[in-house]
């Protein structure tokens, strides 16, 4: 755990967040239903920690990230953010002009560094643009700051006149991180920051993010679909399924002793990089339901191997089963599910 956090204060508190997208049909674009992309999600992130947000495609993890940054306006709920001046503001309802000064405190790292950098801008313009937008008009000061952040992410400051095409995927992701860091943000929302990278480069970027967090007191919301990546970076992990949170727990608890059948299924589906450990358990059957037409009761019940009658009718609430471990499952107290053991170190050789 990262203990140098400013007294572990809650930096971001998301309460009952909802984001519905209307489905329109016909000539008059009548609203015939809603896609419940995010449906009553609550969690908090303390200063200096990393919350991993995992789930399969379409579960709403990116929508949450965008709602927090107010790239999307939430349908309901609150996104309480503690500003630098130690004031709690609700990002969900704040009007535009009050929002702008807050934007510099939260930044985003995008998934695909080949799509998120303008090929016609050099590094000085890319990394310097947030500075310019936020009032740093003096070109020399801006150049100095760009050189400083490029150094932070392990790129040589001489590169600042070059264009993105001259860089590899890993280097481009470092540029994206540098741009996010330029304004000294406090919260960084990283949406699948390493999934477009090669394995040998993935490790470099993950290590860089861990190191930067310690040096700069950053707080991360780390969105990913890859559980092994999340395990390396997160203090706590939230597992999502069809717009709702299935389970939140400290990382070792979640991987070692999952309480929600979906978490357990997700863990057992990860292919282990060891040919001597071949999974023999049948994988989870069926597909993820559509958030426009979710099943009744618990959304996971049609695929759940531990389903009981109550699951079909009653939606479970997120309850704390042990300190810090929240599960939304009717049978969380009785089920004992397999987790994943920890290896002492990289096991090479015999």
């Amino acid at each position: 755990m990262n203990s140098n956090a400013p007294n572990g204060q809650v930096l971001l508190d998301v309460k009952h967040l909802q984001k519905y997208f209307p489905i329109k049909k016909g000539f008059f674009k009548r609203v015939v239903g809603h896609v419940r992309a995010v449906d009553d999600v609550s969690f908090d992130i303390k200063a200096g920690e990393t919350l991993g947000l995992v789930g399969e495609s379409g579960c709403g993890k990116t929508t949450i990230a965008r709602c927090i940054l107010r790239a999307l306006k939430p349908t309901g709920g609150q996104v309480l953010f503690r500003t630098e001046a130690d004031r709690l503001v609700d990002m969900a309802t704040l009007p535009g002009e009050d929002l702008r000064p807050l934007r510099r405190e939260m930044q985003m790292i995008f998934q695909d560094p080949f799509a998120s950098l303008n090929p016609r801008m050099n590094l000085l313009d890319i990394v310097g643009e947030p500075l310019l937008v936020n009032g740093m008009k003096d070109r020399r000061r801006r150049t100095d700051r760009v050189a400083e952040v490029l150094g932070l992410v392990g790129l040589r400051p001489e590169y600042m006149r070059r264009f993105p095409h001259a860089f590899s995927g890993g280097q481009r992701q470092r540029i994206v991180i540098a741009r996010a860091l330029a304004l000294n943000p406090r919260l960084i929302v990283a949406d699948e920051p390493v999934s477009a990278l090669d394995v040998s480069v993935q490790a470099q970027v993950l290590n860089l993010m861990l190191e930067l967090q310690q040096r700069l007191h950053l707080t991360y919301l780390f969105v990913a679909h890859d559980l092994s990546v999340v395990k390396h970076i997160a203090d706590r992990v939230a597992v999502m399924y069809v717009g709702k949170i299935a389970e939140i727990a400290p990382t070792p608890d979640l991987f070692g002793a999952p309480k929600h059948p979906y978490t357990a299924a997700l863990l057992s589906a990860v292919p282990v990089a060891d040919p001597r450990v071949r999974s023999t358990q049948p994988p989870l059957s069926g597909d993820v339901p559509s958030p426009a037409n979710p099943p009744s009761g618990c959304y996971f019940h049609p695929r759940c191997p531990h389903v009981i009658d109550r699951c079909r009718t009653e939606t479970p609430a997120l309850e704390e089963t042990s300190p810090g471990h929240y599960v939304s499952c009717h049978r969380a107290h009785e089920l004992v599910l397999p987790g994943i053991g920890e290896l002492p170190a990289a096991d090479l050789g015999d």
């Binding site: 990393t50 399969e56 495609s57 590899s168 995927g169 890993g170 280097q171 090669d198 394995v199 040998s200 480069v201 993935q202 490790a203 470099q204 993950l206 290590n207 861990l210 190191e211 679909h225 559980l227 092994s228 990546v229 395990k231 390396h232 970076i233 997160a234 203090d235 070792p252 991987f255 997700l266 863990l267 057992s268 589906a269 990860v270 292919p271 282990v272 990089a273 060891d274 040919p275 001597r276 450990v277 071949r278 999974s279 023999t280 358990q281 049948p282 994988p283 989870l284 597909d287 993820v288 397999p338 987790g339 994943i340 053991g341 920890e342 290896l343 990289a346 090479l348 050789g349 015999d350």
Partner: protein, 358 residues
Amino acid sequence: MACATRLIRTVSPMTNSSPLLSVRNLKTYFNLDEGVVKAVDGVSFDVYPGQVLGIVGESGCGKSVTIKSVLRIVEKPGEIVGGEINFRSGDASDQGLIDLTRLDARGKRMRSIRGGEIALIPQEPMAAFSPVHTVGNQLIEAILLHQPVSKQEARRIAIDRLREVGVPSPEERIDAYSWELSGGLRQRVMIAMALSCHPKLLIADEPTTAIDVTTQAQVLNLLRALQQQLNTAIIFITHDLGVIAQIADHVVIMYLGRVMETGPVDDIFHRPKHPYTKALLQSIPSVQAQARTPLPTIAGTIPHPFNRPTGCAFHPRCPDVIAGACDRHIPALHPVNDPQPVSCFLYHDIVDEEVAVR
């Protein structure tokens, strides 16, 4: 892991049989205005009947170009400039070895092999299907091309194949469009299409990269079951070492167009020899690792194809580099009679490359 058991590996399948596909010193180059990109530069490997061969490598290592060369679908300006691709075509007679590099890529013989005897499961099922034809039409088209059957017969075969790969209510799904199916179903239909003509060799190009983990586990289970049932040989291309450990019998590790190391899956994962293999295995994030631990990394980045290093392509990033050898000479895949040959001067002396190929 509680849900997994240790399985005894079937030791080197069918050692007495001859390879189904034997690639020798394959070179596929792209002649661009900026220079020559040696995408595949002297690759050799064998695939035996009923074997799952995994080809692993990062982007730009030439794994996709290798299989495109085997299927003879390398786009211009790419060109096979050397080497042999020997495929045992036709009936079981061992005399039927033909060199695919000598065939006309658009000729009748190659067209009957491609899709008939060697089938492909492409990476992105959404992009591989036509959105304006039903999946059934596309399946039936493939069957009619390679088998002497009537349309009604082909439709019946298509429905049977869909049932085999676990598509629920195949009689209805056959008339669905690809965009009406979920990612997992779409990939199942793709597998049904690849298997529709009972290929001897199935090439799966990152078949699970674009889909979610729970669906990936379903598709891997299906491929494993079908492979055991039909005894098809599979070349499985991926960058995911976890997937390779779960499905492959034999592994080829590639880096910048060359084979770094090859061997049985257990040896590659538990007794890796090449420094690149070792580094790659250490740098993958693992669900079994301790939470919040930095990973060992491979220094540097993959070189740009125009800036290929001299000597061994991995030497600028290699922790065990031998000055004077690795940066000047290209190591060949050695020793020849070893089940786990490596191209690395740590294991053999500098030898003449051309001699070393076989």
